[in-house]
Amino acid sequence: MIRAVVQADPIDLARELSAIEAHGAGGIATFTGLVRADDGVSTLELEHYPGATDAALLALAEQAARRWSLLAVTVIHRVGLMQPGERIVFVGAAAAHRAPALEACAFLIDRLKTDAPFWKRETRGGNARWVEPRGSDDAAAARWSEPD
């Protein structure tokens, strides 16, 4: 199963997990990104490049499925307005054993941060500002480059 979705609705973890679990894997690794509730952000808005985001998520999911022989892979990214504590992104990878599931999960979230056209705008105390990219994200994504 390869599932890549951009959606405005909240991410239904229970549903996504059972869909992944249905594929007979020995291990499932997941990562969920949340709007942090501890740093004064009142709302977060996610803008995206419609069409290009779906293609980017699908390309990442397919790449991970091939590289780690995954039985199931899911990548879901929310867009629109979100509150602290809400899920922004969910990635899940199912494999026969734990190492490929864990690695694929780390790959997916690292590369999603740099390869998918989403932009975050935070509102703090009434002031909205676009989130600046972090250099550490590029470094994290680069470690997954494969030799040609």
Partner: protein, 81 residues
């Protein structure tokens, strides 16, 4: 043209139809040409190091050749996930 995030806000619109001259053959040259259209464009495109581009939905370096695309997008580095 498609614009996103603060590029879109500076320009004031999220998309526009353009008809650049034949001499515009790279993304950088397209940005140079667009920058002259309005103060908003000039402001949005002032710092090239903060711009990224996609040609027909494919991420490309700014110095990439343009070809004859149907859709070009200019935007800041992505910050999703």
């Amino acid at each position: 043209m498609l614009y996103f995030a603060w590029v879109r806000e500076a320009i004031g619109v999220g998309q526009e139809r353009i008809d650049p001259p034949e001499s515009v053959s790279t993304v950088t040259q397209l940005i140079d040409w667009l920058a002259a259209r309005s103060d908003g464009h000039a402001r949005a495109f002032a710092d090239r190091s903060r711009l990224r581009a996609a040609v027909d939905q494919l991420f490309v370096p700014l110095e990439a050749p343009l070809g004859r695309p149907r859709e070009v997008a200019i935007f800041p580095p992505v910050t999703g996930g």
